[in-house]
């Protein structure tokens, strides 16, 4: 026989039924969306780090091509250019590449014809390391060389730098758009579930409505319900993405999946806001949908 009812121990039950047969499917869909959103965030962070690494590597260097002029030998012209460049403010080091190093650079195109290269006017290269804090500009290097009557062309890698920056921008914007699309899809799923929930619980909504509940009170029930489901789904999705990220980190030998997409352990923390964000998106979608539908009652 069941225990007699004790009003003193009574706790108000939820106006909406605790369990709904649709909840597991909804939780699964939102968890998958959260997983994809977190993976996108991880990829964006790793992509941004890779772009920063490449940019900082090439922005600290410049290459100067020196051609001999008049009776000056190429080696002498290169040595003079290196000396001039070393004196330019913002240059940490300038080093003329040896003849063999210059030949090695063009050998892939001409084959093993070193013996004949002496007859060709092969330009010499000067590798310039720039001061990281106050790097010299390409224009400053060019002006210094021209002032010493050197026939030289300065490549400060700005073209490559722009390409890397624009590629990083594309990655960032793509990730943002994908992230927003996923958030939108999650919101649409929650809105659909709210609509279905309201239809399935029309009896509850009607009784609450006729008993004097405000629209916001009724919408709040659905808001809290779907926010809770989304928070759990967000936690599951975030955990899945963190595990996937950790596996990629381990599989990549300390650099992530590839050196081009380096994942750091701290990147995995970026999934932490996912449950909260999922709950907020769900609450907002449920609130808007529920209030609109209740208003039509």
């Amino acid at each position: 026989m069941s225990e007699p009812f004790d009003p003193a121990r009574w706790r108000p039950a939820s106006f909406l039924p605790d369990k709904d047969a649709r909840d597991p499917a909804l939780l699964f869909v939102v968890a998958v969306l959260c997983f994809l959103a977190c993976l996108t965030a991880l990829a964006a962070i790793a992509g941004a780090r890779a772009a920063d690494g490449w940019a900082s590597e090439i922005s600290g260097e410049a290459t100067v091509i020196v051609r001999a002029r008049g009776g000056e030998t190429p080696d002498a012209a290169a040595a003079r250019a290196a000396e001039v460049l070393a004196g330019v403010p913002g240059v940490a080091e300038a080093r003329a590449l040896e003849k063999e190093e210059a030949y090695a650079l063009i050998r892939p195109w001409l084959g093993d014809v070193t013996a004949d290269l002496d007859d060709l006017p092969v330009p010499r290269l000067v590798a310039v390391s720039l001061d990281r804090a106050t790097p010299a500009t390409g224009e400053a290097l060019d002006a210094a060389l021209k002032a010493q009557d050197l026939d030289a062309a300065v490549d400060d890698h700005s073209v490559w730098l722009e390409d890397i920056k624009s590629a990083a921008g594309v990655v960032r914007w793509t990730a943002t758009v994908v992230f927003l699309l996923i958030a939108g899809a999650a919101a649409a799923v929650i809105a659909f579930a709210t609509r279905a929930g309201l239809a399935a619980r029309r009896d509850v909504v009607e009784v609450l409505h006729l008993t004097g509940a405000e629209d916001s009170q009724i919408a709040g029930l659905f808001e809290i319900r779907f926010a809770k489901i989304a928070a759990v789904a967000g936690a599951v999705g975030a955990l899945g993405a963190a595990v996937a990220g950790a596996l990629l980190r381990v599989a990549g030998g300390g650099q992530g999946l590839t050196p081009a997409l380096p994942i750091a352990w701290t990147d995995l923390l970026s999934v932490l806001p996912c449950p909260l964000l999922a709950a907020l998106v769900a609450a907002l979608a449920a609130r808007i949908t529920a209030r609109r539908l209740i208003h039509r009652l």
Partner: protein
Amino acid sequence: MSRNAHTAAVEPPADEILRFSGVSMRYGRGPEVLSDVSLSLPRGSFHFVTGPSGAGKSSLLKLIYLAARPSSGSIRLFGEGVGILPGRDLPRLRRRIGVVFQDLLLLDHLSAFDNTALPLRIAGHKPAEYRNDVAELLAWVGLKARMHALPPTLAGGEKQRLAIARAVVGRPEILLADEPTGNVDHEMALRIYRLFVELNRLGTTVIIATHDQDLVARSARPVLHLDKGRLRPLPPQGPVEQAPVE
């Protein structure tokens, strides 16, 4: 003296709680279910609404508990014109009305206790303020042993009493009941009627739609008689041979 409560005063009396002025109502594009109904009920009155099936009794109650709007005419409730009130003000008025719905509208996933406490929770009261009152009320309507039971496990009469408990728990200013004694035996019907009388003595305005002519005749209360959507003079009453129920 006629017991018909159909009145059409021009100036609302100070103690008027409800006034219909030329109210008609139809569902969608269907025929009128209420036609040109005018009435004025004083605060603290007790009325029956009678009439054959389809006469418009439930529609009249729906208009009063603000579940429907008239297609023409105006309604004043608690001194406020409900037609011009914004939607956000309606919950405030609904909380002052207790309703026993014809189809009861109990929530099947909530216990009898939770169902009864629902209006008080919606009104924002704390459980400590009302849990004893709810328990006492449920005991009074004969559901002391069924407080934890879910509605689907209750018998028809128990469900009806539960719906009545929910309607009166908040001590509403107006109590509307649509066939409240339809599924209960004669003794319980009298008991429920006496509960309504008691609430009425405490100041609640009571309006009961019923087919129970015996109860109407024995109660000697004023009657709003509807026929084909119109308020009509009462049909001739037979002699009241039984003792008054009060």
